[in-house]
């Protein structure tokens, strides 16, 4: 196992590997997302009145919310591996993950705004989960801003990795402070998510689209990291020898 890991830790071996597995993720993503949405639209019972049809936006909202949080953890994991083992590819993976995470965060906030308008009557409400999601967007943007502001790639990789780590440590504190602004009485305002109370078909649709988003993330991130590898290693002989480059 150990030998295999480090073999693919070099950009030159990872690049073709990534190229081979991308189609798998692309197809899974397509199938799962389409399947999930189909299930959610056509297989769920028509119990709810016309007004409540808007809940269907949750199929996108919940999946992207989960992905926005999960991808931040993935980003920090790659950053940590980079800082500890000093491997360039880990930093490149972190750099590739950030934009996708940011997009999902933005998507969550946007779909959340529409959901809020139809169910609570307002686009924005400063409740803990919304606010933390907004902070998460700032953390992603901060990471990307720091990356692009520093010219030296080694320094920018390490600095943004450290920033992401600091962000992760502070997210629980931030969430708690927004959740409990009055420590004398803590009350969560977002509905307590109780997965068991939800109609099974809807739950299936949620999970399927969420996994679909996950597959989509793999695809997009792997494509992006291939571009980053090409960009950073453009002077090396193995890149010069690639078909795509020689054309």
């Amino acid at each position: 196992m150990k030998i295999n890991w480090f073999k693919y830790a070099a950009p030159s071996t990872f690049y073709p590997l990534a190229g081979k597995i991308i189609p798998f993720f692309a197809w899974s993503a397509l199938l799962l997302i389409v399947g999930g949405l189909y299930w959610g639209f056509f297989q769920t019972p028509e119990l709810l009145s016309d007004q409540k049809q808007y809940y269907r936006i949750l199929y996108v909202h919940v999946g992207s919310a989960w992905m926005s949080m999960w991808l931040y953890i993935v980003l920090v994991a790659w950053a940590l591996i980079g800082l500890v083992f000093n491997t360039r590819l880990s930093y490149m993976m972190a750099m590739a993950t950030a934009p996708t995470g940011a997009i999902f965060t933005f998507l969550t906030l946007w779909t959340g705004a529409f959901w809020g308008k139809t169910s609570w009557g307002t686009y924005w409400d400063w409740d803990p989960r919304m606010t933390t999601e907004l902070i998460l967007l700032f953390l992603y943007v901060g990471y990307m801003a720091l990356q692009s502001a520093i010219d030296d790639t080694r320094r920018s990789d390490k600095a943004s990795a450290l920033l992401a780590l600091v962000g992760l440590v502070l997210i629980p504190v931030i969430f708690w402070s927004v959740n409990c602004p009055d420590p004398n009485q803590c009350a969560a305002l977002h509905q307590q998510s109780s997965m068991s109370n939800i109609e099974p078909n809807i739950r299936i649709a949620w999970l399927v689209t969420a996994v679909g988003f996950w597959m989509f993330s793999f695809m997009v991130i792997l494509m992006r990291v291939r571009n980053i590898i090409l960009d950073r290693d453009q002077h090396t002989s193995w890149v010069q020898g690639l078909d795509e480059v020689r054309k």
């Binding site: 010219d151 790639t153 080694r154 290693d233 453009q234 002077h235």
Partner: protein
């Protein structure tokens, strides 16, 4: 005392500067790093001064990796880079006081004043260093060498901005340090008359 570099390579950005570099330096030796501009001399010196890690390979001090030794290695080290490391708003004597204190050098006030006098700043010790000339600032920075007890000196172009008398003086300080079993690693663009027989040369261009 021996400093050894084992198969080290360094990159700047995505460019590989040098790789598989091996050398060692012992007490009483002087090493000159040579090469044209941009070939990585400063990067190599900064790596030896533990300001950055080599991208590959290992540097050892008496057979122990320097990143494990950390503070212990730094106790043995003096680094002088392109900057003078002087606070413009502090006087030469204040700068020297802070530097000696941070480096665990216990010296009396008299010794500080004497060092500045020896280096040629008599009468200028009490002025904020920002009003000194380039050469005087360099001398103020070099005064630290007179007080340091560390064995390994890593100097990046120490002769720049010095006049002829100061160059001579610095050469004699370096010579004395080598004679007392110290080690000096340096780069310089100038033709300076160091002890020609005991100099080790490392050519970075050739790699």
């Amino acid at each position: 005392m021996i400093l050894q570099a084992n198969n080290i390579s360094c990159r700047r950005g995505e460019r590989l500067l040098f790789s598989n570099l091996n050398f060692h330096i012992q007490s009483g030796e002087l090493m000159l790093i040579e090469g044209r501009n941009g070939c990585g001399k400063t990067t190599l010196l900064r790596t030896l001064a533990m300001l950055r890690q080599p991208d590959e390979g290992q540097i050892t001090w008496n057979d122990e990796p320097i990143d494990k030794l950390a503070e212990e290695y730094r106790q043995h080290l003096v680094w002088m880079g392109h900057h003078n490391a002087l606070k413009g708003d502090l006087t030469a004597i204040e700068n020297l006081r802070v530097a000696t204190c941070l480096n665990n050098i216990n010296c009396s006030e008299d010794e500080l004043w004497t060092a500045l006098e020896t280096i040629g700043l008599y009468g200028y010790e009490d002025l904020p260093t920002r009003v000194l000339s380039q050469g005087q600032k360099r001398r103020a920075a070099l005064a630290f060498l007179l007080l340091s007890q560390s064995k390994l000196w890593v100097l990046d172009e120490p002769f720049s901005a010095l006049d002829v008398k100061a160059v001579d003086f610095l050469q004699s300080i370096i010579r004395k340090h080598i004679e007392k079993d110290g080690m000096v690693i340096l780069t310089t663009h100038q033709e300076v008359a160091l002890m020609s027989d005991k100099i080790k040369r490392v050519q970075l261009d050739a790699l």
